[in-house]
Symmetry: C2
Subunit: 397 residues, 2 copies
C-alpha cells in the first residue's frame, strides 16, 4: 500500500497568487471596462534582444541538419557554455573552472533541488521575508527551518543566525525586498559559515540589476567563499529567459563541509544532476551562449536598464506621495511600507480600488512581510507610467 510523503502535509498552502487573481477578477467584474494595471508579477515582459534571438535561431537550425543535429548532451551542460561562463566570471576577477559550473533549466529547480544533497538533520536558515521556494523545498526535504528576520531595523538585510545553523539561503538582490547584501555583511556570513562548517546557498538571480559597483554580484568576490558557498544563477532576469529556461549553479571544488574532502560536494551535485536531470534544452543553451557574447551582453544590459528605469519611475512617484520605499535601486523590486498601519492585504485592496494597480502583498513572502507591499519593475514603460500616474492622482493618503 503506497503512502504519500507526509512532509508535503507540513507545507502551508500558499494562496498568494490565486488570492490576487480572485480579488482582481472580482474587482473587474464589479467595474467593467476599467483597465487593470499590473505591477505585481516578477516576470519579464520585453522581447528578447536581437543577438539572443540569433542564437536561438541557430540552435533550431542546427537541429535541421544531419551534420549539426544533437540529441542528449552532457547533463552538466554544453562545454562551450560552461567555458563561456567561466570566462564571464574571470572578467569579474573570479576564477572558476568549467567543471565547477553546472548548467540547468533555471534557478528555481536548482534552488529547490540543492537541499536534497544534504542530510535531513541539517538546520536551514532562511530570511523572512523571502522567495517561498527555499522554505517549501526544505519542508519537503524534512529539514528544520529557522528564520532570519529582515525588517526596517536591519535595512532588510538579516543578521547572523543566533542558533546553530548548517545551511544558509541568501537571496541577494533579494526577492521581495529589493535590498542587497553589502560586501561587509556578506563577509560576516562567509566567516560564520567557515567557522561553523556551514554552507551558504547564494541565489544571485538578480545580480545584473546591481548598479552600485561596490555591492557584490557574486559571493565568490568575498574571500573564503569558495570554501563554503554554492552560487545559483540564471539567464531569466538578465536576458529575459523566464520562459526559455536556462540557469546555472556553481559548486566549487574547494567547498568543504563536515568530514568532506575537497571536490566531494562538486561530485555529489554532479551525481545528482547526471542521475535526475538530462540537461537544459540545446536551443536554450545556444541562446545562452549568444547572451554571453559581447553584443549579447551589451544588449541585455540595456534591457536591464530599461527595467531599472521603470523602477526609478515607480520609486520617485511613490516617494513624492511620502511613501516609504526600500529596494528598487539595485534590484527590480520595490518594497513599500504600507501607509497608515494597513496590513498588506488591506493596502492591496486600497490600491486596487483607488488606482486599479495590482501589486503583491508582502505577507505572502513570510511573517515579517506583513505591513509591506511588493511592486515589480518588470512591465512595459507605458503601463508603468500609467500605474504611477493613477497612484499619484488617486491614492488617498
Amino acid at each position: 500500500m503506497a503512502k504519500i510523503n507526509s512532509n508535503y502535509k507540513n507545507l502551508s498552502q500558499n494562496y498568494l497568487f490565486s488570492e490576487i487573481r480572485k480579488r482582481t477578477a472580482a474587482f473587474s467584474e464589479a467595474n467593467p471596462g476599467v483597465e487593470i494595471l499590473r505591477l505585481g508579477i516578477g516576470n519579464t515582459t520585453e522581447p528578447l534582444v536581437p543577438t539572443v534571438l540569433d542564437g536561438l535561431k541557430l540552435g533550431v537550425k542546427k537541429l535541421s541538419k544531419v551534420e549539426t543535429y544533437t540529441g542528449y548532451g552532457d547533463e552538466q551542460g554544453d562545454i562551450r557554455l560552461r567555458k563561456a561562463l567561466s570566462d564571464w566570471y574571470d572578467k569579474r576577477g573570479i576564477k572558476l573552472s568549467d567543471d565547477e559550473i553546472f548548467i540547468s533549466d533555471g534557478a528555481k529547480c536548482d534552488a529547490a533541488n540543492i537541499t536534497s544533497i544534504f542530510d535531513t538533520s541539517s538546520v536551514v536558515a532562511i530570511s523572512d521575508p523571502v522567495y517561498p521556494v527555499y522554505l517549501d523545498t526544505n519542508i519537503i526535504s524534512n529539514k528544520k527551518v529557522i528564520f532570519l528576520e529582515s525588517t526596517d531595523k536591519n535595512d532588510f538585510i538579516p543578521d547572523l543566525p543566533k542558533e546553530k545553523t548548517d545551511i544558509i539561503f541568501i537571496c541577494s538582490p533579494n526577492n521581495p525586498t529589493g535590498t542587497v547584501f553589502t560586501r561587509e555583511k556578506l563577509k560576516e556570513f562567509v566567516n560564520y559559515a567557515l567557522e561553523n562548517k556551514a554552507i551558504i546557498i547564494f541565489d544571485a538571480a538578480y545580480s545584473e540589476y546591481i548598479q552600485d559597483k561596490n555591492l557584490p554580484r557574486s559571493i565568490y568576490g568575498i574571500e573564503g567563499a569558495k570554501n563554503c558557498s554554492i552560487e545559483i544563477q540564471s539567464f531569466s532576469k538578465s536576458a529575459g529567459f523566464t520562459g526559455v529556461r536556462l540557469g546555472w549553479t556553481v559548486v566549487p571544488k574547494d567547498l568543504i563541509i563536515e568530514n568532506s574532502i575537497p571536490g566531494e560536494i562538486n561530485k555529489l551535485w554532479n551525481r545528482r544532476q547526471t542521475t535526475m536531470f538530462n540537461g537544459a534544452s540545446n536551443i536554450a543553451q545556444e541562446g545562452g551562449l549568444a547572451a554571453l557574447s559581447e553584443d549579447g551582453q551589451k544588449q541585455t544590459r540595456e534591457q536591464v536598464q530599461y527595467y531599472m528605469e521603470n523602477a526609478k519611475i515607480i520609486s520617485e512617484g511613490l516617494k513624492s506621495l511620502g511613501l516609504k520605499i526600500f529596494g528598487g535601486v539595485n534590484a527590480p523590486y520595490l518594497w513599500i511600507k504600507c501607509p497608515k498601519g494597513l496590513t498588506s492585504w488591506e493596502f492591496f485592496d486600497k490600491l486596487l480600488n483607488e488606482t486599479h494597480v495590482v501589486g503583491t502583498p508582502g505577507s505572502g513572502f513570510g511573517k515579517m512581510g506583513e505591513g509591506y507591499f511588493r511592486l515589480s519593475a518588470f512591465g512595459h514603460r507605458e503601463n508603468v507610467e500609467k500605474a504611477v500616474k493613477n497612484i499619484k492622482e488617486n491614492l488617498k493618503l
Copy 2:
C-alpha cells in the same frame, strides 16, 4: 555543520558508459585509422522533421515581439499543449482531462522525481535489467528496492512481485531488452496494484515504436489503470527531442492509494511541480505542439519507421549468424544473448576487436543483464549497414 545526504553513499558507481568510452579509446589508440561503428547509445541521430522545425522557429519568433513574448508560463505546461495531448489520448480511446497531464522537460526528470511524493517506507519493485534511473533515484529517496527478474524464462517480461510491494516501475517497451508488456500481462499488474493499493509508474517513452497494434501503448488502455497508475511519456524518442527536452506525466484524478481521496495524488504532483519546477521551455513546447499536429505526427512516425528499419537490418543480420535476439520488433533496442557463454564485457571486447562495433554490455543494466548485450537502432542507415556487414563478415562464432 552541514552533512551530506548519506543515501548517496548507497549508490553504486555506474561506470558503464565511462568504461565503454575507455575501452573504445584504448582500441582506437592501438588501431589508428580504424573506423569505430557505434550501436551503443540510445540517442536519436536524425534531424528534426520540417513541421517540428517550423514549430520551434515559431516559438523563437514569438519571443521577438512584444505582442507575443511570453515569460513564465504555467509550471504544468502550456494549456494548448496539455489539451493537444488530451486529444492525442482521446484518439487512442483514452479519456484524460488536460489537468491530468503535466508537461515536463523530459521523462528522465519525471521518472526520477516521481518517487519523492511517496513515503520512504514504500517498497519499490523494479525490473532487472532496466534503465538505471529508477534504481538510483529510489536509493537516493531511501526506499527499499526489490527486483523483478526479467530473463529468457519469462521472455524478459517480469512476473508479479512475490513480496509486498507499494510502487512498481514498468518500462514498456523496455530499455534495454526491447520487450513489450502484452495487454494480458499488464492487466495482471494493474489487478495486483488495485488489490494491494499499490501504484504503477509506467514509463512509456518508447511507445511509438510499437508496431503490433495488439500491444498496449498506454497503460490507460487497461481497465482499472486510471485508479492505480501514473504514466510518464516523452517527445525524445518519438520526435527526436532528446536534446530539445520535452515530456509529460499523467496523474489521473481517479488515482487512489492508501487513505488518499480521489484527486489527492494529482494535487500532490501539482504541488511538487509548482514548487520545484518552472515549466518546460516555451520554445520546446511550441515544437511539441507542432509534433502533435497532423503533419507533425505523420512525419515523426516516418522517422520512427526509419529507426525501426535499422532495427530490422540489425536483427536479420545477427539472426543470420545464429545469434539469439530479443526485442527490436516493437522497440529500438535489440537484446542479444552473448554467444558461447561469454559475459557481457567479454562480448563487448570481442565485438569491438573483431568488428569495430561498439554496443552496450547488458550487465550495466542490472545483475540479470549479465551474459546479454544491447544494440541500439538509433543511428544513420549507412553506419548501421556498415556495422552489420562488419559483424556478418568478421565476428568469429
